[in-house]
């Protein structure tokens, strides 16, 4: 008996546990080895590609890298992009990002394993290819040559890959967009698919790239293809277009979709003036303010415009009021914005103030649209129909094909905004029309992040990005009756910062950290 007992003790002492005791799989995550078995999984993986494909931050902050605005906080990474102090070690906001590309490559390499219909495969792949193409588009724009690959890389490959010439990358993107445009539907019947990539989005991005690449003939054709879809139109009100109740309007071709709480847009709060509880992170410059025509359709320097430098905000293009908070503007709380009062939280010469005297207003026309401006469901449009119209007009102008359709396209934009139609007498030739369409783009898309790309392709950085960057006038007081800002006669413009711009700044530097890891990546010239 005793021997049995001892034997038993010894046995339990040295008996190993169950053989698979040490085999433990994650309890709360799907394992990649057992995926791709259902339609549901494919949909989930496809949705996962959309997460982070683009973010509102990239759109709303981007004007700080241009002559449209100033980014007061260096850590928000746009200041150095605006003032030319950008270096490889301090590259500002980095768009050198391959996460979506890798996710798409993985999806495309595996989706065929799933038991789904060919149609679903085609449409799913089309969306994945678009998202990949979009990221390549952004990178070839800001960096020029970028490594192009269409499969998942191993660590070793990733650390050795070289930059593909921009021209090849552009060709790849355009080929992809052309190919998927025929695979993707013009619209999705299910409301729960609203926001997915459509044929129109593929064509509109293609048109944008063709414009940027000066492939004007192709651009006109692509714009016409977009028009032919009959899916899009301008939204009746320019102001209301940027309000949450009009998400997914007819004008919206491609956007970043948000939903409060679950997939929320946090970035609107950074636009809000300090006095209204925001960060005042994107401060428009006088240069943009001056670009807005008078309500009568004349530029401020034109004779007979009626522009008064001491009352600069009277009778301007209505889009100005939608886009910019200016000295004297009636704020949400009913007070008048006063960036010139040192006791105001908006005081221009202090941390958190409206450093240029202005604040961005687009998307936050009425703050009470949002239960919480830091956590909203406001979609941020990436491409809207107005851009296709202006791209069409610009391409035609550059081609010298100045016909009625050009005026009609620009007029549609202006009339919707509450501006008079184009004065055919003043804008009658290629040069004047070129100036007009460029100005029209600038004011129509103010605070929508397109200005830097325009500066880049028009090569006007040396003219518009160099020297002192000014804000509003620096002295004055609010008229207690009208609430209007009365500038002092001796007021001078606020000198926000002195900017530098060199030819190298048409491209951004590749972050030094990346070159440190992969010495095969050659830095852009001059950095």
């Amino acid at each position: 008996m005793k021997k049995v007992f001892i034997f038993f003790l010894l046995a339990i002492t040295f008996a190993s546990c169950n053989k698979d005791f040490l085999d433990r799989s994650p309890l709360d995550q799907l394992s990649s080895s057992t995926f791709w078995t259902s339609e549901k999984e494919v949909t989930a993986a496809l949705n996962g590609l959309y997460n982070g494909w683009e973010i509102g931050d990239n759109i709303v902050y981007m004007d700080c890298a241009s002559d449209n605005a100033y980014g007061p906080f260096p850590w928000e990474n746009y200041q150095v992009l605006g003032n030319g102090l950008v270096t490889a070690a301090d590259p500002g906001n980095s768009r050198w990002n391959f996460v979506t590309i890798r996710k798409c490559n993985y999806f495309l390499a595996n989706v065929d394993k799933a038991p789904i219909s060919d149609d679903m495969k085609k449409v799913s792949k089309g969306q994945a290819r678009f998202l990949r193409a979009y990221q390549y588009f952004i990178m070839e724009q800001v960096y020029g040559d970028v490594p192009l690959f269409t499969k998942e890389l191993t660590i070793e490959e990733a650390n050795k890959v070289t930059r593909t010439p921009k021209v090849d990358v552009v060709k790849f993107i355009l080929d992809e967009l052309a190919a998927i445009a025929s695979d993707l539907p013009a619209s999705y019947s299910n409301a729960a698919d609203q926001g997915r990539i459509t044929k129109g989005a593929a064509l509109a991005l293609k048109a944008r790239i063709e414009l940027y690449e000066k492939k004007y003939t192709e651009c006109v054709a692509t714009c016409n293809a977009v028009f032919a879809l009959n899916q899009y139109d301008l939204f009746p009100s320019y102001t209301d277009l940027f309000r949450i109740q009009n998400n997914n309007s007819k004008e919206d071709i491609l956007d970043v979709q948000y939903k409060a709480n679950d997939n929320s847009n946090w970035v609107l709060g950074v636009l809000v003036p300090g006095s209204q509880g925001g960060w005042s992170s994107i401060d428009p410059l006088q240069s943009l303010v001056d670009a807005y025509e008078m309500k009568n359709g004349k530029t401020i320097t034109e004779t007979g415009s009626g522009y008064n430098p001491l009352k600069p905000y009277s009778n301007r293009d209505p889009r100005f009021y939608t886009t910019i908070w200016y000295p004297g503007a009636v704020l949400y709380d009913g007070s008048n914005m006063n960036p010139l009062d040192k006791n105001s939280a908006d005081y221009y010469d202090q941390y958190g103030g409206a450093r240029t005297g202005y604040n961005a207003r687009k998307y936050i026309w009425n703050i009470s649209d949002y239960a919480d401006v830091w956590n909203s469901g406001m979609n941020i449009m990436v491409i809207r129909f107005a851009e296709v119209l202006l791209s069409y007009a610009e391409a035609k102008i550059e081609l010298g094909q100045i016909d009625n359709s050009v005026y009609a396209a620009i007029d549609r934009i202006r009339l919707r905004a509450g501006m008079p139609a184009v004065d055919r007498n003043v804008y009658s030739d290629q040069t004047t029309l070129r100036n007009l369409v460029r100005r029209e783009r600038r004011v129509e898309f103010g605070m929508e992040g397109l200005r830097w790309f325009d500066i880049q392709r028009w090569k006007i950085g040396e003219q518009v990005m160099k020297g002192d960057a000014f804000g509003s006038l620096n002295a004055g007081s609010i008229d207690p009756v009208t609430g209007e800002m009365i500038f002092a006669p001796n007021a001078t413009p606020i000198n926000v910062e002195t900017r530098d711009f060199k030819a190298i700044n048409y491209l951004w530097p590749i972050p030094q950290k990346q070159i440190d890891i992969n010495s095969n990546l050659k830095q852009n010239t001059g950095y």
Partner: protein, 1131 residues
């Protein structure tokens, strides 16, 4: 569908609950059983006193009488025992043994008391003997007295007998004894296990008091080692042990803080003083990993646990296994050293009740100092002059700041003064009951600790209970059960801006004094981030209630002589219920009282985290001594399963600020999280000790570990170690050096592993989809998944090779002791998130760990001790110091990795500060012109006099990133501690000094302050550079200060020597004389004052503790000075 799922879940909970219930039942049963055993042993016979008066009755009659009066019964054979003998009995309140003594002394009857049963047996005496006895009896005396130990405590159970006779007695609980029938020339022998036997000739005395001396000298001291104990003399590894009494009476809230400065090679850094979050970071012999696994393995009574599981008053001793030789037995978890905590056990003593308590109050060791509004305004005006701008404030306005005549517009708020208003009171009570008999011992304790922070709303309360019971069942089986339970109630303020506590410290140090705390209309002043006092007063609170249970059941069976098998089963369970309720705040404009900033809505995070660990250990040991050879063999197996479960719910828009439960919130925007993970470990291990003549000592250990963390191909690994010792003083040739009473040489080598890798992940090798990749389509959430973290399937353990050589010595009969160890450890295969190019397609946070790096830690530990007496003062001094050289030796060709102001590079200590070397401050424009071109200037204010001057390391005429250099490490290169105890009569004084040197500190941002907007400058700015005061201690005042700002351009200017010497603890105690105590029936009583962190000598920034987190912006809870008064009582 819904219903069945619910049932399933309920079933799961039920079955787990049942398991716990069964476990609890077993626990309760065993506890009761053991307790019963303990009391059953001898207590009736020891406690029952009888009064019986009989004259001239037979023995039989007398025995019957006793049976009637008590529960005793007698067993005897009347043929052998003469029960008819007539006797007289006059017992008045006497113990049975005394009554029996009276009845049978001097006869041939021997009695044995077994609980209530008394057995009478005959003793064979020769007639002569009986005659002698009876002869002696006529001519005898009674001897009585008290036996105490060295410390003056009465000793219970000491056997006292008349030499060469059966005449025996033992002392009672008060150490008293009486021995009758002693010949005046007899000799008494005092005997007690563990104490030196004393023989005392009676010499006609009737009172003999005696002090017994412990046999256990330092050399006999037993040290706890992995899976067992060892005599200190036989140790061959580097093991440091500290007795629980050293930790006692210190006003600290946890065991780790109490360890600071006490042990060589053990660095404890306490970077926060927050109640409940002030656990020190422990590093044993340097830093052994880059990842999350830098902490030592902590075992309580042999099973993995947390230091927080133990009330410091319950600690018997703490043993630290520092080198590879001693720690390899813990294999893959031992690379950072092992700390073994043993809790107190009962002893073979009568029940003893003791109480320890203290009350104290805390205050910050130091706080930064900021300028007043008037000073700030003046400074601001000065700063503007460099920009050629008009002053911002007029003299009249500055005057208003100064005189406070218009506080709504010209406030001068003392933010720190308003913030640090908590009581800082702390209370600690601890009771324990301990005792036992020959077979069973028990210790029960209960503790209460409460600490209120110096910031209102920050508090921590802990309740501890413990029951340790051991019993011997039969001759070969022993069993024990240790159960501990603790409940911790933790609370800290939180805020609607960042939802954490540290933001308060940042904002309090940041917000300008010009911002009113409140306007005269009662509304709060605010800046863009809000108002930290509004947050504090809003009642937003983060609470955590943690229940922790640890049960350890063990049974040991001796199969053959020397061969034992031991089974240990333990279960540890903790549940942490979190409730973070954040109130919303509406700020108003003044004086319009229109709504301004809104911070909200109100919201609640409610969470429940369960963690459980089940461990089963089996140990087989064999001891054999053959002449001069002795061998100890141990073999074991261990399996362990850890599981964590987490649930969190979130809702917002609560109707009431008082009902802090999820159901009260709106379902709109609610979210929930549920996660679970498991980790399984299995190990085989063994040890062989061999010693020859106590002179040559050898030890070999090995552990073979398997972990579920790794893929099958890399799952198992072997961790061997070997060590040897030579006790030189045992050699004959040492006899001539009689002043050396102990000298031992130790040498050891071992391999250790670290599996707590990959940021603690349990599944670092699995490639999984992250379910948090949702997107929105048409204003609906579309569930999305994606692989966001790359996995590394070939991941394996980190390995550390450790070598140690040491010498221990004792001189002049241990008047002077010393111990010196040199260690050299090389850690390799260290897990690194090697930088991988972005083209890999994973965010930096999703990069996989790879086994890549190497790091070495080399160093020297020295311990010196001396004790003795100087006149009436006895002293005991212990000094320890550790020199550590840490160096990253291999980053696999990558690196240096620079992250802001820190660098990890080959050839330098891990995590060094990194930045520009500052050559001072420019004084003239000519100096600026002659110097290399610096960044950070602007057209408005170019780099000029008063700005910091950075060294052009590469002499290319431009100061840029390439000119940055290593600026030193924040991990101390030398740490030391001095523990001094002085005793004079009934007073004792204990001083613990502790310090570190070869260490750098760095403060930045709000800690230094800014002249801009709603920020504020610290008083460091007072000694700034001006054209007339060419200060070298602080650059000029600028609004756009970035060029001098250590957070933008980190430089040696802001890196300071953070060496310090600290009077960590001072304790002055008075032990009340036993004379006084008799009156109140207390056996010992000590009152004391104890002060923690009273004095710090340092050259670091004024207002900042040298132990502040490295590179801090001041957003931490300050370290605390604690004054406390306490009481230790034994009943």
């Amino acid at each position: 569908m819904k219903k069945s799922r619910f049932n399933q879940e309920a079933g799961g909970i039920k079955s787990q609950f049942q398991l716990i219930l069964i476990f609890m039942k077993i626990t309760v049963f065993l506890t009761l059983f053991c307790v019963f055993q303990a009391f059953a042993g001898n207590s009736y016979s020891q406690n029952t006193r009888l009064s019986i008066n009989l004259s001239n009755v037979s023995v039989k009659n007398a025995l019957e009488n006793i049976e009637k009066e008590s529960e005793f019964y007698f067993l005897y054979n009347s043929k052998l025992i003469n029960v008819d003998r007539p006797v007289n009995l006059s017992a008045n309140h006497k113990l049975i043994k005394d009554i029996l003594h009276e009845l049978f002394d001097g006869t041939d009857v021997k009695y044995t008391i077994i609980d209530r049963q008394i057995v009478l047996t005959p003793v064979k005496f020769s007639k002569d003997e009986i005659n002698t006895i009876q002869q002696q009896k006529k001519n005898t005396i009674s001897v009585s007295g008290v036996v105490k130990d060295k410390n003056g405590n009465p000793m219970y159970g000491v056997n006292i007998f008349l030499s060469k006779t059966q005449n025996v007695t033992s002392t009672d609980a008060n150490g008293k004894y009486v021995l009758n029938n002693i010949p005046p020339n007899g000799v008494l022998v005092f005997r007690f296990i563990g104490y030196k036997e004393v023989t005392v000739p009676v010499n006609n005395r009737t009172t003999i008091d005696l002090i017994l001396e412990s046999e256990i000298t330092d050399l006999q001291e037993v040290v706890v080692v992995g899976y067992g104990t060892q005599k200190k003399v036989n140790l061959t590894g580097a093991v440091a042990q500290v007795s629980g009494s050293v930790l006692k009476s210190r006003p600290v809230s946890n065991v780790s803080s109490a360890l600071q400065g006490v042990l060589p090679g053990v660095v404890v850094i306490q970077s926060s003083g927050q109640p409940g979050s002030d656990v020190g970071t422990i590093r044993i012999r340097g830093i052994g990993s880059f990842g999350s696994g830098k902490n030592p393995l902590i075992l309580v009574d042999g099973v993995k646990a947390s230091m927080n599981d133990v009330d410091q008053n319950d600690v018997e001793n703490i043993s630290v296994l520092k080198d590879g030789a001693s720690a390899a037995i813990y294999g893959s978890e031992a690379a950072n050293g092992v700390i073994l905590i043993t809790t107190k056990k009962g002893k073979n003593k009568p029940l003893q009740l003791s109480y320890a308590g203290n009350m104290g109050w805390q205050s910050p060791t130091c706080l930064p100092n900021y300028l007043s509004s008037a000073q700030y305004a003046t400074l601001w005006n000065e700063a503007l002059t460099y920009e050629n701008k008009a002053p911002k404030y007029t003299a009249a306005e500055i005057q208003k700041f100064r005189d406070g005549s218009d506080p709504d517009h010209y406030a001068n708020t003392d933010w720190l003064g308003k913030f640090y208003k908590g009581s800082g009171l702390q209370t600690n009570h601890h009771f324990d009951v301990a005792g036992g008999s020959e077979n069973t011992s028990y210790m029960f304790s209960a503790g209460y600790f409460n600490q209120d922070g110096v910031v209102k709303g920050s508090s921590n309360t802990r309740y501890n209970m413990r029951s340790n019971v051991d019993t011997k069942i039969g001759k070969r089986f022993t069993a024990g059960l240790n159960i501990s339970y603790s409940l911790t109630d933790f609370a800290e303020p939180t805020n609607p801006y960042t939802e954490n506590f540290s933001q308060f410290f940042r904002q309090i140090n940041r917000i300008s004094p010009m911002v009113p705390y409140k306007y005269s209309d009662g509304s709060y002043g605010s800046v863009g981030d809000g108002n930290p006092m509004a947050w504090l007063e809003s009642g937003s609170e983060s609470k955590m209630k943690t229940n922790q249970f640890l049960g350890i059941l063990n049974g040991e069976y001796e199969i053959l002589k020397g061969l034992k098998i031991k089974e240990i089963f333990s279960y540890r369970f903790s549940n942490a219920l979190g409730n973070k309720f954040i109130n919303d705040i509406q700020y108003y404009n003044f004086p319009s009282h229109t709504a301004k900033l809104y911070q909200g809505p109100n919201r609640l995070y409610s969470s429940s985290a369960n963690a459980s660990n089940i461990t089963s250990q089996s140990l087989l040991t064999y001891d054999l001594s053959l002449k001069q050879h002795s061998i100890h063999v141990m073999a074991g197996h261990q399996a362990e399963l850890t599981r964590n479960d987490y649930l969190q719910g979130f809702r917002k828009n609560f109707l009431s600020d008082n009902l802090e439960q999820l159901n009260v919130g709106s379902t709109d925007g609610q979210t929930n999280i549920g996660t679970a993970s498991e980790l399984a470990l299995e190990s085989y291990f063994g040890r062989i000790n061999y010693d020859f003549a106590g002179k040559y000592l050898f030890e070999v250990n090995a552990r073979y570990d398997g972990s579920s963390r790794f893929m099958a191909s890399n799952r198992w690994s072997l961790f061997p170690s070997a060590s040897a010792g030579w006790r030189i003083t045992q050699e004959k040739f040492m006899k001539q050096f009689s002043f050396i009473n102990n000298l031992k040489l130790r040498i050891g080598w071992g391999m250790l592993g670290n599996q707590n890798v990959a940021s603690g992940s349990y599944y670092p090798t699995s490639s999984t989809f992250d379910a948090g990749q949702s997107y929105t389509f048409g204003d609906l959430i579309a569930s999305g998944v994606a692989i966001t973290s790359a996995s590394n399937p070939v991941l394996k353990w980190e390995a550390t090779r450790d070598a140690n050589i040491g010498i221990d010595g004792g001189l002049f009969n241990d008047k002077l002791t010393f111990s010196v160890d040199y260690f050299d450890r090389k850690s390799s295969n260290l897990l690194l998130q090697l930088p991988i190019a972005a083209t890999y397609g994973y965010a930096v946070t999703g990069l996989p760990d790879q086994n890549a790096g190497d790091m070495i830690n080399r160093g020297l530990e020295i311990v010196l001790g001396t004790h003795g007496k100087m006149g009436p003062v006895s002293y005991d001094l212990n000094f320890n110091t550790t020199f550590i050289h840490n160096e990253v030796t291999n980053l696999k060709g990558t690196g240096p990795w620079i992250n802001g102001n820190t660098i990890v590079e080959e050839g330098s200590p891990y995590y060094s500060f990194y930045g520009y070397e500052c050559e001072g401050i420019f004084n003239t424009a000519a100096e600026v012109a002659a110097h290399a071109k610096q960044q950070g200037g602007s057209t408005a204010v170019p780099i000029g006099p008063g700005d910091l001057k950075y060294k052009d390391q590469n002499k290319d005429g431009v100061i840029d990133d390439k000119d940055r250099v290593n600026l030193g490490s924040s991990f101390p290169g030398v740490v030391f501690g001095l523990n001094a105890t002085l005793k004079y009569k009934d007073f004792d004084l204990n001083l613990l000094f502790q310090g570190a040197t070869k260490v750098k500190g760095y403060i930045t941002m709000e800690a230094i302050g800014y002249v801009d907007g709603t920020a504020k400058p610290s008083s460091l700015w007072l000694d700034r550079w001006t054209p007339t005061n060419n200060s070298t201690t602080f650059p000029r005042a600028l609004v756009k200060w970035g060029r001098n700002d250590g957070s933008v351009y980190p430089s040696s200017f802001w890196v300071k020597d953070a060496s310090y010497l600290r009077l960590k603890n001072i304790q002055l105690g008075y032990t009340v004389s036993p004379k006084w105590l008799k009156v109140i029936k207390v056996s010992s009583l000590r009152v004391y004052y104890s002060g923690q962190n009273l004095l710090t000598i340092t050259k670091f920034y004024k207002g900042f503790d040298p132990e502040a987190p490295a590179g801090t912006r001041g957003d931490y809870y300050p370290q605390q000075v604690v004054h406390s008064f306490g009481l230790n009582v034994n009943f």
